[in-house]
């Protein structure tokens, strides 16, 4: 038995936690990659805004786009609902009302992280402390995940969590691919020297570098990276891996017949991509299409479990 209201909070709690984690990974990797590149080579911080889907929100409040403004906006700005600190606060706000459902240590980990990010947000902006701050966000989310996977019954509450997490994760992978990968595929020839570093960055921002290397045993090239991040079912951050987990979660939740069409629509859209992810523009458009499918899936989840479960 799971209350509709609680299901909604679990779903969003999971999404916001995942969003905080994903944003932290992307900002951390971006910082590292830019430090590796010589000055003058594509050293713009603006793609970060695009990955986070926050370009318009940022431009509304900022005249210029330098590193610390952008990083502060994405990490420490409470007014930006998509920032790391906001995501953590929203996760906590949702999970506050699910404390009787989640293992106690999970709530404690979320609460710890909230207290830390609320207090030390500025250390996520300063270059010298940024990595430590972002790593703490990531590892605390891993702690929550570990508590749940090691200590929670595989009941409806767990599946709601997994559902929210997988949808959010798929969304981030498509955004990284749609912005970063598409930009690299379309990039002019002269940046080729640093291609490998850049593609490593794409993998790193999804914590996929090591797994990519193990899975492919080959050099790091654009086509291989895109294919891995889209289709490798065994990698949990690939779109295919997320689709698999979404499908599993929905099969264990009630009303599968109502939710199934949305996930199959997403799977079909992914399957159609096998042939046409070759150039930047079409990759970008394809990722847009997947994001639309994810958005529809989100609406279906809400209609099935929250607003229309009568």
């Amino acid at each position: 038995m799971l209350l509709s209201r609680v299901a909604d909070h679990l779903y969003w709690g999971a999404r916001y936690m995942e969003r905080a984690d994903d944003t932290a990974r992307v900002v951390r990797t971006f910082t590292e990659v830019l430090l590796d590149l010589p000055t003058g080579v594509a050293s713009s911080w603006e793609p970060l805004l695009a990955v986070a889907g926050s370009r318009l929100a940022f431009e509304a409040g900022h005249a210029r786009a330098n590193e610390s403004d952008i990083v502060r906006f994405l990490v420490a700005d409470q007014a930006n609902l998509g920032s790391v600190v906001s995501s953590v606060a929203l996760a906590r706000e949702n999970l506050r009302t699910t404390r009787e459902i989640l293992p106690r240590e999970a709530w404690q980990a979320v609460n710890d992280l909230y207290l830390f990010t609320a207090r030390d947000a500025e250390s996520g902006v300063d270059r010298r402390t940024r990595s430590r701050f972002l790593t703490r966000v990531i590892s605390d989310h891993q702690r929550v995940d570990g508590v749940l996977s090691g200590g929670m019954r595989r009941d409806e509450a767990y599946e709601m969590w997994r559902l929210g997490q997988s949808i959010e994760r798929a969304d981030m992978t498509t955004r990284v691919l749609g912005v970063r990968a598409a930009a690299l595929l379309s990039a002019p020839e002269e940046t080729d020297d640093y291609d490998e570093v850049q593609w490593m960055g794409v993998l790193r921002s999804l914590s996929a570098l090591q797994m990519y290397q193990r899975a492919t045993r080959g050099p790091i090239d654009g086509g291989g990276v895109v294919s891995f991040l889209l289709f490798d079912e065994y990698f949990p951050r690939s779109v295919a891996g997320c689709v698999r987990r979404i499908r599993e979660a929905l099969r264990r939740l009630p009303s599968t017949s109502r939710t199934e069409p949305s996930v199959e629509q997403l799977a079909d859209a992914l399957a159609r991509l096998r042939t046409d992810a070759s150039d930047g523009a079409s990759l970008d458009a394809a990722m847009d299409e997947l994001q639309v499918c994810l958005g529809e899936l989100d609406l279906t989840v809400h209609a099935t479990f929250v607003s229309g479960a009568e």
Partner: protein
């Protein structure tokens, strides 16, 4: 730390009049001296970190916004000897048996009024009497399933009942959390001596709630009904639901259908609810029956309850016995319904309605707390030794003019317990709230929640007003 300081004129819970530890507190006092103040302060600091990390909070309102504050905790426990506690327990159970007889009687034949023991005009004035409850018969005749009674100790060591909270008493989760924290702080003492465990409470609560399910329901679905996350006791609602494995629901999660059955809205459709442990006040339970503007409630809940398809704890209307005037009659209830003498005294309460008691009040007005019956929240309260001559003269005139509206109690000297304040151990005033469960049988917590007024001389133990809390140890001495 040569000797623990006490305040003259007050009973101290750990130290006797000669400065020696009371027998049940001997091991603790010895340990405090061994530790010294700086080590004790370190343990206090660690405890406070635990509280933040465990997310033990209460909510206060500021600028229209609920803010979570960490639960204020003092590391020095308050100790009661087990032998004394057993007598208190018996007294509390006796009290609850009588209170439940009284409530049940009021909503049925009102025999106690007919017999002239309880004046009927008091009922007419009662703000907590609910005509909507007349004729309902909850199982076991129990209306007040969860009671938090506040106990205070006077200068001579006598433990009195100050009031019975029969509506939605809170604090029990903090009692449990305080124990979890103090076990870490004084692990060796717990290992060496027999301190009664408190952890059974949530199991006992679940057992009690199961015992009041509608007839024929063997494995009832129990839920905890909360006003929501902005309620000051939300932490506790969530805590209790979690410990009982019950769903924590808000009004909007429940629906009463035309069949007068309560259902909750789940991701798989509607599911029947058998027992509701409600932490919502009567008037917000059901907009059909009470306040039509309440958004917290469940339309039709009273219908379902009256039809007997769902049990509600505490029963609607139970608050009629939670009233400072009704309080004065509790010893009479014990004699009238049970034929027993009260085991645990009320604070002597003079009812100005009766001429001889009124005389007592007026003759000793400087030593009395005067309480008007129809005011709540301490409004209109007059404290004899702090009022001016004019105020007292006016009070006498008011009493003479409308004696039914007044009760009075002697001013008590609340006991103290050593408390860590700014790195020093200082005597601070304490009270105690044990919790009593009544269903098919009775259960009393081993001790309860000790609240402490952290400011010197203050008697205000409320956590929203600078009060703190202590773990309470019932020790076999």
């Amino acid at each position: 730390m040569a000797q623990l300081r006490t305040a003259s004129g007050f009973w101290d819970e750990l130290i006797d009049g000669t400065g020696d530890p009371r027998p049940a507190a001997a091991a603790l006092v010895e340990q405090l001296k061994e530790l010294g103040l700086s080590e004790l302060q370190q343990r206090q600091d660690l405890a406070e970190l635990d509280i933040v990390g465990m997310g033990i909070t209460f909510t206060v309102y500021s600028d229209g916004r609920g803010i979570d504050r960490s639960w204020p905790f003092d590391i020095v426990p308050r100790i009661i000897a087990a032998a004394e506690w057993r007598r208190v327990e018996l007294g509390l159970v006796q009290r609850l048996r009588a209170l439940n007889c009284f409530i049940d009687d009021l909503y049925h034949d009102q025999q106690i009024v007919a017999d002239g023991v309880f004046p009927d005009h008091l009922l007419e004035h009662s703000v907590n009497y609910r005509p909507q409850c007349v004729g309902v018969s909850p199982r076991h005749g129990v209306w007040a399933h969860v009671c938090g009674s506040d106990l205070v100790r006077d200068a001579d060591g006598t433990m009195y009942v100050l009031e019975d909270n029969l509506r939605v008493p809170s604090g029990v989760s903090y009692m449990l959390e305080n124990r979890a924290i103090s076990k870490r702080a004084f692990a060796d003492l717990f290992a060496r001596q027999s301190i009664l465990p408190v952890d059974a409470y949530t199991d006992e609560l679940k057992r009690m709630l199961t015992s009041i399910a509608p007839e024929g329901v063997t494995d009832p679905t129990v839920v905890v009904l909360t006003p929501g996350v902005y309620n000051s006791a939300y932490f506790e609602h969530s805590f209790l639901a979690q410990r009982m494995g019950a769903a924590l629901v808000e009004g909007a999660d429940l629906v009463v259908d035309d069949d007068d059955v309560v259902y909750m809205r789940t991701i798989d459709g509607r599911e029947r609810v058998d027992v509701i442990y409600r932490r919502v006040d009567d008037l917000f339970l059901d907009p059909e029956a009470f306040r039509p503007d309440s958004a917290l409630g469940v339309p039709g809940l009273m219908r379902a309850w009256r039809a007997g398809t769902v049990a509600i704890a505490n029963a609607p209307g139970a608050g009629v016995a939670d009233d400072k005037v009704v309080y004065a009659w509790v010893p009479d209830f014990i004699r009238y319904y049970l034929g027993e003498e009260p085991l645990l005294p009320n604070v002597p309460t003079y009812r100005c309605l009766y001429p001889d008691e009124r005389r007592q009040v007026i003759d000793h007005i400087g030593d009395m707390v005067l309480k008007p019956a129809n005011e709540s929240g301490g409004y209109g309260l007059i404290i004899g030794n702090r009022a001016t001559k004019e105020e007292l003269e006016r009070a006498v005139a008011d009493i003479e003019a409308d004696p039914r509206n007044w009760v009075a109690q002697p001013i008590l000297s609340l006991s103290t317990a050593p408390t860590l304040c700014d790195g020093q151990l200082e005597p601070r005033h304490v009270d105690l709230r044990p919790f009593i469960l009544s269903g098919a049988s009775h259960y009393v917590t081993a001790g309860g929640l000790t609240r402490v007024a952290l400011r010197r001389g203050s008697l205000i133990v409320n956590s929203s007003q600078g009060g703190g809390s202590k773990d309470t140890w019932i020790v076999e001495a």
